[in-house]
Assembly symmetry: C2
Homo-oligomer: 284 residues x 2
């Protein structure tokens, strides 16, 4: 599908892209750049790393597709850095969790004949780092592709085709609409998990020794990398504030029902929540 | 360890008790009562059901230990119902999620020479019903045993020994203290998961099709049985209100930090949450 792909700053997602590309034979050559020299030494020895480069521009130079896998605050700077080195017709995408600003800055950074179209695979984890990568990480997972009005349709089509080739369920969406949605279905759950843990830490941290499956699952994403999440919140602050505000109304409504012993309403909320949860798309 | 055990109203927990008792050879005979005649017909055929009875009293009559596995609002009524039929020295326990009222009413229901001591295995699931039972459900899981001041020490010791024989990590605790703890580490997470789902259902229910692992895990317990959970909240309303109130302060504090772009505080909350979550006791 591609002759040559470049992966910049591979962590969990980037290394999984590389493994999936190799497994599904989506590109012949994979070139890589990683920020730390010691990571470059290690990745060099992996079978999915055909060429290791010391700079992002060198890694990107011969590629038809560059996938930027850095934390969200480094995506636009990396796009700007590699822009002059890109081959004619080259495509650039990313795997960041917030898409509005990144999509606009990435698009603006490109020179004539090269294209930036943002992506966001809903396949992250509280585990980060290339050591946790999996060649089937994207299989049946949602991947958002977020073109602007002014994006080149053929470039968008090729990015969509790339993720489809990695067995993802691709959803094309306006970047701002994307950010509104993930504020609700990804960033708000993270905030609830982290504030619950933070509260319980204050309250009595020894109680965690009694944790059943409910607390374990509810709080799993609280274990995610604090700095990575901070940068995500920095870029999606307004949408998360909206979601948090509206959610607190729901929680307050529940609290009032409990205070008033309105058991019918309590049960109705539990039933509505169950109906919602029961209809999640099953994963294989 | 016991000659004869009775399991009343087996669901996920009760049938798992029976399977674990059989696997670990903790009793010779298991007698069973289930509320629905059609369930009695089905359970009769399972290898862990030695005797099926048509009434709770008949099932309890010959047992040295009776385990009441009904929803919390039926535990004390069942204890009262079987009390006259119990053999001298018989022990009664339960697997309910709230312990204050149940422990007091259960204790009060007993006649001289028989003993009620409450239990609560932290091994429930959003899945209910004996079909989902597992013979290793209690292995390495916390089981609370909640004696009163006036409970017979030898009876408490035998109940503790029973759960230890099922490979659980037993924690003995005052019933009111138990209810305060589970309000925080079990009931509050349930309320957050259910209200999050209920909110998202209002907001745009189609977004669930994009759910990643974070939303899936955070909301898993929202799929639990609404009526069972309602009865749990009915019995632990005051403690849950306290926990909910204090948690909302933490959430509001987070919201203010986000509104004020206090990224250091946001990251500090994420770090505190991660430190808490990272130190959960690992499960094998």
């Amino acid at each position: 599908m591609f002759e040559h792909i470049a992966i910049l700053a591979p962590g969990l997602l980037g290394a999984s892209v590389a493994q999936a590309v190799r497994r599904l034979d989506v590109a012949r050559t994979i070139s890589v750049w990683a920020r730390r020299p010691e990571t470059r030494l290690k990745l060099k020895q992996l079978q999915w790393c055909d060429q290791m480069h010391d700079t992002p521009a060198d890694a990107a130079r011969a590629a038809q597709l560059v996938v930027i896998c850095s934390p969200v605050d480094a995506i636009a700077p990396l796009a700007t850095l590699i822009a002059p080195a890109l081959a004619p017709g080259a495509l650039v995408t990313d795997v960041g969790s917030v898409k509005g600003e990144v999509s606009r800055l990435g698009h603006a950074a490109m020179r004539a004949g090269t294209h930036f179209v943002g992506s966001h695979p809903m396949a992250g984890s509280e585990k980060t780092g290339w050591e946790h990568a999996r060649a089937d990480l994207f299989t049946h997972r949602t991947v958002f592709v977020t073109p602007l009005m002014e994006s080149d349709p053929a470039a968008v089509q090729r990015i969509v085709g790339f993720w489809a080739a990695l067995e993802a369920e691709v959803v094309t969406l306006n970047p701002d609409r994307h950010d509104e949605i993930v504020a609700h279905i990804s960033h708000l759950p993270k905030v609830l998990a982290s504030t619950l843990c933070s509260y319980l830490q204050h309250r009595d941290h020894t109680w965690r020794n009694y944790a059943g499956g409910g607390l374990r699952d509810t709080t799993r994403i609280a274990a995610g990398d604090p700095h990575l999440w901070r940068t995500i919140l920095e870029q999606n602050r307004d949408e998360i504030l909206h979601a948090l505000h509206a959610y607190q109304d729901e929680l307050h409504h529940f609290q009032m029902a409990l205070a008033n012993r309105d058991w019918l309403e309590i049960q109705a909320i539990f039933e509505r929540g169950k109906a919602y949860r029961d209809q999640f798309r099953p994963l294989p």
